[in-house]
Amino acid sequence: MFRTLRWTILAATFAAPALADEVTTFTLPNGLEAVVIEDHRAPVVVQMVWYRAGAADEEPGVSGIAHYLEHLMFKGTDTLAPGEFSKIVEANGGADNAFTSWDFTGYYQRVAADRLELMMQMEADRMRHLKLTEDDWQTEREVVIEERNQRIDSDPGAIFGEQRRAALYLNHPYGRPVIGWRHEMEKLTRQDALDWYGRYYAPNNAVLVVAGDVDPEAVRALAETYYGPLDPSPDIAPRVRPQEPPQLAERRLSFSDPRVSRPYVTRSYLAPERDPGAQEKAAALTVLAAMLGGDGQTSILARKLQFESRQAIYTSARYDGSSYDDTSFDLAVIPADGVTLAEAEAALDAVLADVQENGVDPAQFERVKARLRAGLIYAKDDVGGLARRYGEALTTGLTVADVEAWPDIVDAVSEADVKAAAAEVFDRRRSVTGWMMKTGEEEVMQ
């Protein structure tokens, strides 16, 4: 498998490691949940604060507000000037940034372990004391629109992905882009941002993850000092979003753009996510994705489409069960020269039908399980990655117990489970098929 291949968009999800003895949790009286992960190999720490607020929590008409507010969180507080937060982190030799998704918004700093107190002081400060001046919010709106230009509108693959996602979700807000639709982004206001901030940015809607060379008791004491005095938000309600109706008609989208160099076909199925206390189905789908597309040479799609029939130059399968509501199982095929999109799609469907009918190869099944188990060992080398797993789980409805049970649940998946999961999820009525084409060389979609 060729590492630098540009279409490596879709990676397999690996099991989270069991590190129960190195993970400590506590909750402050104001509702802040905290997870401490110890790794004493280097004198470094990561602080992350995750809010249970993402693009799927936005009201209709203000798409992009979660992400826009993420930008504005660097604009200063009663005690910090705009931009000063990052400057202090950098002046302390640290790196900081933030990220927004459909289910969460997160902020992190990586610094020397002895700087944790300062990071906590500043992160706690901006949890409740953000200040936005007239200048700040308008300039930053230009910046997020440039970000949209760069990430989406300059990239036909991203444009089409946005359209396909909108088609996959008939009713759920997961159909909206995290960055926002441009016409709505252009109208976002300071008040929109402050409303969002006031409602969601509070200790009872946040998860603190501290990972690295730290003592859990010391972290708790610091958290009590800095996060402890913050008032909870009275507006935090259970997250109830519009759910999908029965999906009865498959959707087929075609798109062409002069910037496309090679056509490709995608297929996304609506799929169940990991639920608290009920992760078995997601575990089976995780193994299924690893078997279908987890390795560029040995996976089922690679073997059948790239090696045997040679109809494809690249294939992928991806499933990420970390999601509050229904997620998706995504497949893609880039046809070889002389192979049409219709032929590539038929070849993909034949593979999916075969898995549902005949199950998977036992030898490959064992190899994939071995790889997933080894993933637990390799994952211990990346404490930042562990921190992300806990933060993501706790903001997508899971508990620490679910995170810790996950490796065993994945390990317990049987071949029959994988076959059954394929049969349940690969239902065309609940899918979107995409044909990406080059302008002037379109194929008629069938």
Partner: protein
């Protein structure tokens, strides 16, 4: 309150040890030298192997041979065909990454302690007995071709291709290491065998290992894995002549945004002024939010999502490059801001406050790089290839600390040439005239 606390912390900064990483320089019984960091808390080892020369060793009409060779190494070796090799690797849960860059090719390995011998035996077949079966070559070639085709439609790649072409003329650095559609189509099995012989030799070998392995175990492993490689490879190409001239190049590309690649000559890695230039670059366009260009172009004016610059000291040529993207109607203004800042700093230097912020950032960020066995192994090989001693890890921050305001002024005057900046703009920029 917060400001005071921050100031108090800054003073402690230099105390953080990157030297928590304890390097052993070893020589195997068979004479292969390597750097080792023993880290037994997790039962796996990361091994990084590099050979100097990389894709620069491609002959002009064989451009892309080194990269195609590296990408085909794991597509069948010894008794195993491509599928068989991949299945064996998967069963061991080992990771082998083969890559080609302009100055080196690399093999990045991670393997579990429980089956390390088997993983090494498998890897050895790829390094010493790759099959280069015709069907494997053709399959990987098709992937490379698709990347070349995709690059032709990618505004970032188009911009940097043009920049490199203007900068390096006939040198291998001027063109993509992927090769061209024409050159890649013509590559044969013999070309791959020749490319491997040119680059994978012991006279240009650099190795480091980090993880659950002892000195004696590593020595035996290296002799077994690398001892059979040929002693010498092909001579390195000559230094590149920099042909870059100041001005604006516009390449029409239908997109709402223009992508800009800009830069001029840089500085050699071993130049006495390198550290001053490195600190200066951090002030101007370092990654992060404090840098001058990020402040002027993004924070004050909202003209871009991000802008940064880098010194790129390759083995055979050095440039100082930057990049950003702006809406077509804003890009002309953004380029003006970059030029103005470049001229201002060349004339005035930077403030003491900016200098100190850059130094504290760079010294503090250095130890954060050492997070994970694979990353540490990569850094250690990079140090060996830069001809640095193991003590560099300990001393590096003192070189940053030693940079003075006068150094910055001198180096800014010496290196920053606003009129020499070449901007390559890919998009449909409004009100921007190309110049030669």
């Amino acid at each position: 309150m917060i400001r005071l606390l921050a100031a108090a912390f800054v003073a402690l900064l230099a105390a953080l040890p990157a030297s928590a990483v304890e390097i052993k320089e070893i020589t195997s019984p068979g004479g292969i030298r390597a750097w080792l960091v023993e880290e037994h808390s997790i039962p796996f080892t990361a091994l990084e192997i590099r050979f100097r020369g990389g894709s620069s060793l491609d002959l002009p009409e064989k451009r892309g041979a080194t990269l195609l060779m590296m990408a085909t190494l794991e597509e069948g070796a010894g008794d195993l065909d491509s599928q068989g090799f991949a299945e064996a690797r998967e069963a061991l849960a080992a990771g082998f990454e083969f890559d080609a860059n302009d100055d080196s090719v690399s093999v990045s390995v991670r393997m579990l302690s429980e089956n390390r011998d088997a993983a090494v035996a498998l890897l050895k077949t790829a390094l010493t007995a790759p099959r280069f079966d015709q069907d494997a070559i053709d399959r990987v070639r098709a992937q490379v071709v698709s990347i070349i085709q995709s690059d032709e439609k990618d505004p970032n790649t188009i911009a940097w291709r043009e920049f490199d072409q203007q900068a390096f003329g006939a040198h291998p650095y001027a063109s993509s290491r992927n090769g061209t559609l024409l050159s890649v189509a013509a590559l044969t099995r013999d070309d791959l065998i020749a490319a491997k012989a040119n680059v994978m030799a012991r006279d240009r070998l650099y190795v480091s290992a980090v993880g659950d392995i002892t000195e004696a175990e590593l020595g035996a492993l290296l002799d077994d894995l690398l001892g059979d490689l040929p002693e010498t490879g092909a001579p390195l190409p000559p230094k590149a002549e920099l042909g870059l001239k100041g001005g604006v190049t516009v390449i029409d590309f239908a997109s709402p945004q223009s992508v800009v690649a800009f830069g001029h000559e840089g500085i050699e890695r071993h130049d006495p002024d390198f550290f001053a230039a490195y600190v200066l670059n951090q002030v101007i366009g370092g990654h992060g939010f404090g840098a001058r260009l990020m402040e002027e172009v993004r924070e004050k004016r909202g003209l871009t999502y991000g802008i940064s610059t880098d010194l790129v000291p390759m083995d055979l040529g050095w440039t100082w490059k930057g990049g950003f993207a702006s809406a077509n109607e804003k890009v002309s203004e953004a380029i003006g801001v970059v030029r103005d800042e470049w001229a201002r700093i060349a004339a005035e230097g930077v403030s003491d406050e900016e200098l100190e912020a850059a130094k504290t950032y760079l010294t503090g960020a250095y130890p954060l790089r050492f997070d994970g066995n694979g990353r540490i192994a990569g850094i250690l090989v990079g140090m060996q290839m830069d001809d640095l001693p193991t003590t560099y890890l300990r001393d590096r921050n003192s070189y940053i600390e030693a940079v003075t305001s006068d150094d910055i002024k001198r180096v800014a005057r010496r290196l920053m040439k606003p009129d020499a900046l070449r901007f390559v703009v890919v998009g449909q920029p409004a009100g921007l005239e190309p110049s030669n």
